[in-house]
């Protein structure tokens, strides 16, 4: 597995840009959209880290399975935790 150095620097640069976007967006009062914007940016950053720094993009299906399992379980946990809140009204 050979990945050009440039790829890492580009991903690093993208992470910095997204970080500044997230901070800038936080200073705008967008009501409920603030949460969506912040979490969307965080998810994009997470995908970049997992795919490129953790090399999942270049890995075998077994690695995808493990990374996917971690994601699936956390989705279940959040969905069930939130079931109280989203069914209140």
């Amino acid at each position: 597995m050979i990945i050009p150095k440039k790829t890492y620097y580009k991903v690093g640069a993208a992470l910095f840009i997204l970080m500044f976007l997230t901070v800038a967006a936080a200073y705008l009062n967008l009501g409920p959209f603030n949460i969506y914007i912040a979490l969307t940016i965080a998810c994009v950053k997470a995908v970049l880290v997992v795919m490129y720094f953790m090399h999942v993009k270049y890995q075998t299906k077994v690695t995808w399975l493990f990374a996917g399992a971690g994601f699936l379980w956390i989705v279940i946990m959040f969905a069930l935790t939130m079931s109280d809140y989203i069914t209140r009204y």
Partner: protein, 196 residues
């Protein structure tokens, strides 16, 4: 006892054992931090009032720490890439930088914590600070753990490069996977605790 598949991949999994092991460990870590994040969500949606993080916390310092952690992820992956290119000197440099950046993160965190205590803001002050201190302290412990492992690999552990370079490269990769995960947790902690 000889641990099998430390440098070569197992045929059935297609991975060397340590890599499978670290991914299993990280999946369990997802649940550990996930439990605390969902605790945060439940506490927040049930609280009559909830402060904006930036009213109580120091956003510029946290932004600085975000820059520090992202940079350390870049240097960490570069230290592994250096070993892949058989450049041991470069590995030492990048791994050294990673450890240094991790210390910078903890020093900044120390100043943040002490500033809170000076203003009489403690975990017992309110629910927001309770969950803030719990999650950031657990994350801080992970940084500390990373420093211990990375320092071992940078120092005495690097002797392995002489007699089993592939196994050593794999060890650095596994430590890197852990380190990127710790960065990943911060990517969510930063907006959730400081900005929202």
């Amino acid at each position: 006892m000889n641990i099998p598949y430390t440098s070569t991949a197992r045929l059935d999994t297609g991975l060397y054992n340590a890599k499978l092991g670290i991914w299993l460990f990280l999946a369990s870590e997802v649940m550990l931090f996930g439990a605390l994040f969902s605790t945060y969500v439940l506490l927040r949606v049930n609280a009559p009032t909830w402060p904006h993080g930036y009213e109580l916390l120091n956003v510029p310092l946290a932004t600085l720490n975000t820059i520090v952690l992202i940079s350390s992820s870049v240097t960490m992956v570069m230290s592994w890439a250096s070993l892949m290119m058989k450049k041991f000197g470069k590995f030492k440099l990048y791994m050294g930088l990673t450890i240094l950046l991790a210390f910078v993160f903890l020093v900044v965190k120390y100043f943040e914590y002490t500033a809170k205590f000076e203003h009489h803001l403690f975990p017992s002050t309110n629910t927001f600070l309770a969950i803030y201190f719990t999650i950031t302290a657990l994350h801080g412990l992970h940084i500390l753990g990373g420093i211990v492992v990375n320092t071992y690999l940078w120092g005495p552990g690097s002797k392995m490069w002489q007699n089993d370079p592939q196994r050593f490269t794999n060890r650095v990769e596994v430590a890197g996977l852990y380190w990127h995960f710790v960065d990943l947790v911060w990517i969510f902690l930063f907006p959730v605790l400081y900005l929202l």
